[in-house]
Symmetry: none
Subunit: 158 residues, 2 copies
DNA sequence: GGAGTTTCCATTGACGCCCATTTTTGCCCA
DNA sequence: TGGGCAAAAATGGGCGTCAATGGAAACTCC
């Protein structure tokens, strides 16, 4: 498997460590990135995490701006400046930093959610709520697609 | 890791010394540059810092202008003319010069911010303010990209 | 001979690394 | 098909090391 799929809820121990799900670790190992690359998700209370593929996303975004331009610097600060590469210990665990935990509202449990080329880390309650909401949206969208006639159906799979 | 990522806020001691974050020192060591190459950031109250990679980027920028052109001279003066190479002591600390501290408004605490190929040194309060602003801009950009159709989403954070 | 440095050493608290234990999962065989 | 066994994953905790920091000692240059 070469992408992050499914979701897992795990505990955070007294030292603030949480095991990265074995399935995700396997993907990361293939990716070859040393440590877990993370940053606070932009528009939701979660942490984005991944390896080289995730870094490449940021590079793509930044490459829209010339070196030394004001915009470039600002964006680089917002993206790289808020990122961290968490060490993964011998048992496959990471320690989320305070800023990350704060952003996601994480206390003593976390939910890892696969999103294909990256995954997110959520506070379990918030994830359930967000999932229910998203499910509703997808249903509505699907209904809409269905009413547009047969052609719309091909795009319904996401 | 081969780039500057994340941010660290550290104290300046009574003798004006501040530890360079270990993570940044590791990148600098790999870069091979002896000492910390610094200059006042062009359009913001911060200090740009880095090693060979930063110098190379400056060269690239200057090469975009014809030799002896006015712009070239101006950029060269702004970047090279005001730069200094700070010594890094045995414990990984540097002493910011007065001009640099003045430009960035630094007193007794500094925030090191990774920008990929280089990093910046800020007065912590100013950095927080600038980060909030920049984060808003990134959100706006992402929204804009997202509305350009499904294909545009790939370059953005979620 | 002092002020300002630079180098070296000491302290402390966080974190990395290692090992033990428990829980879960997958598999084999009765 | 239902145990029961084995391997892997998750979890807990001890301890040594290193980063950050503070301060003393040696050194230079006026």
């Amino acid at each position: 498997m070469d992408r992050f799929v499914s979701n897992f809820t795990l505990r955070i121990d007294a030292k603030g460590r949480a095991s990265v799900p074995a399935a995700f670790r396997a993907v990361l190992a293939r990716d070859g990135h040393d440590g877990l690359y993370c940053y606070p998700a932009l528009d939701r209370p979660a942490v984005d995490a991944g390896g080289h593929a995730l870094l490449a996303e940021i590079d793509t975004l930044l490459d829209r701006f010339p070196a030394f331009s004001e915009e470039r610097e600002e964006f680089a600060a917002a993206l790289f400046g808020t990122s961290e590469t968490l060490k993964i210990d011998g048992e496959g665990r990471v320690m989320l930093s305070e800023p990350l935990k704060l952003h996601a509202g994480i206390a003593d449990e976390v939910t890892f959610v696969g999103l294909g080329h990256k995954f997110q880390i959520w506070e379990p309650g918030r994830f359930r709520a967000q999932l229910a909401e998203a499910t509703e949206k997808v249903r509505a969208l699907r209904k809409q697609l269905g009413s547009q006639g047969a052609r719309g159906v091909s795009g319904a799979r996401e």
